[in-house]
Amino acid sequence: MDNQLITYFQDNVAPDKSEVRQTWGIFWGQLKIFMTYRTWVVTDTFNTIVSIAIYYFLSLQVQPSQIAASGYGTSYLAFSLIGIAFANYLWFCINRISHSMQSEIREGTFETIASSPIRMRSYLFGQAARGFLVGLYYMVGALAVGVYGFNAPLHFEPAALLTSSLVLVFMVLSHLGLGIFIAGIVLVYKQADPVTFMVSLFMEFFAGALFPLQLLSNYPPLAIASELMPYTYALDALRKSLIQGATLASQDILFDLAVLVVYAVILLPLGLWSFNVGYDRIRTEGTTSSY
């Protein structure tokens, strides 16, 4: 009887097994949804511009000698602009997967996706790709407004841009595992926004998005926590390349990249593994659609 029912409902259309096409499909679908939120795009763009203006006025009070002592030039605007623009980008990438997962569960579409022939890996990477692209719009926009609107002294030469782009890729890869891990938490506990929110707060603070890390040297536990954050190394490399014009020939940049690679190698498989554990658990418990 069961077999008869299965035969009755069976579809003869062969599922598309190409992971690239599945990833592209998820990415394109999510991008279309994003484009319907025009008010958000306009207000987020406005907020980005205003936030840079805030750091510009704040920078007028900062003693240049204090920034110079940290080894990142003398402009606090350039220092904070990089800290905030890239932290926001990372936030977009990490938050994207867990946030979309939570929305799918809340709207009741996750079970449909989970029952379809789409591989979960393709789904995750498609969601992440959408986060990378939208985040890129705000990040490039913030840097452009900072440089052309408020005269932040950044190096946009090809070598510096190439170096910072490479750092950006490894920065994302080193944090992607964390985003996937949090998405696994969403699957089981149906809540994750607070977790990603906390991660981004700690990341910005301990990596020194707004102040030079030398100031933490009097507080050993804080200094150690700072050294454990992958974003610390990404930010150091990005500031060195975009403020000082350092390239891949610099030993400091190579060291930072090596640390990011180590984090990526450890965290990415760990994130995928924990996501699979969560995914299997909700399928076993039958809680795919509950929230």
Binding site: D44, F46, F57, L60, Q61, V62, Y76, P194, F211
Partner: protein, 292 residues
């Protein structure tokens, strides 16, 4: 004529018990507390959020020169105290404005706003009730943020007269932002989207109200935008009170701040209630109150 008959047929002869405004307000506070308590982690996160923000500006203060603060009349020139007061009070009102719009948005999502506003509870009682818990909760976070700031090096002048002056400014700050929150909630009821407007307001106030820097650093046109916002006067008043020890009786600047805040409240409170009422009736007429 037909509609009158239908109304008569559906009318219930049950006499409504009169619930006082105080009872309704209490019921709203209890309800919102119960909802909030189911998200216990959010309490922890809110505390950590403001603690990290205060700690960040503790370190930022170490690279800042006091010259601009002194030139603007904040005689101690202590940037950390300046930023601590700015962050704590701006977060206080932002949470409250966001809280109200988010509350309305949540009611739209869960489909309860139509039920509440169709009941004997007037929209004025609803707005007041929906704001109370957020402000109470915000006050606890505010006290915590100030306590932490003082613990790590903030310096304020605490005397009975500065405390009384500060309390008056805080009260006016809350009243002014209740008006902004009500207007924002009205827009949410109408367009079914709230956060973009509330966030835009948040960023604008941070830019022009002197949360992170004295107003003297702004160009004249941004200063004028700042003069239209209550947070500008409240922050100036609170900082002069607690950083310089000024009070209403001996400071002409504080008296100006006080008059500006009272004028803002007199104009904005009725106006914002009108905006909410207009949006509410429009949604009622169009039958879209329950939509989201």
């Amino acid at each position: 004529m037909e509609s009158d008959k239908i109304i008569q047929m559906l009318q219930e002869p049950t006499v409504r018990s009169k619930t006082t405004l105080a009872e309704k307000a209490k019921a709203f506070i209890v309800r919102d507390f119960k909802i909030y308590w189911t998200y216990k982690f959010w309490v922890v996160f809110d505390v950590i959020d403001i603690a990290i923000l205060v700690a960040t500006y503790y370190f930022v203060a170490q690279i800042i020169t006091p010259a601009h603060l002194v030139a603007e009349g904040y005689s101690s020139g202590d940037y950390f105290t300046f930023a601590m007061l700015g962050i704590a009070f701006s977060q206080y009102v932002q949470n409250s404005v966001h809280g109200l719009t988010e509350g309305v948005r949540d009611e739209q999502w869960t489909g309860t706003i139509e039920t509440i506003l169709s009941s004997a509870t007037s929209y004025r009682s609803y707005l007041l009730g929906a704001s109370l818990f957020r402000f109470l909760y915000g006050t606890i976070i505010l006290v915590g943020a100030l306590g932490l700031g003082l613990l790590i090096g903030g310096k304020v002048i605490l005397t009975p007269s500065t405390l009384a002056t500060g309390a008056v400014f805080a009260l006016l700050l809350v009243s002014g932002h209740l008006a902004i929150g009500a207007m924002s909630a009205g827009i949410v009821v109408m367009i079914k989207r709230g956060d973009p407007i509330a966030w835009g307001f948040t960023w604008l106030t941070q830019l022009v109200s002197g949360v992170f820097y004295p107003l003297g650093l702004l160009p004249w046109y941004l200063k004028w935008v700042g003069f239209a916002l209550p947070l500008t006067y409240s922050l100036d008043g609170i900082r002069r009170t607690f950083m310089n020890g000024e009070t209403f009786f001996d400071s002409a600047v504080l008296q100006t701040d006080l008059v500006a805040l009272i004028a803002f409240i007199i104009i904005m409170v009725p106006l914002s209630l009108q905006v909410f009422a207009w949006a509410y009736r429009r949604s009622q007429r169009q039958g879209t109150l329950g939509q989201y």
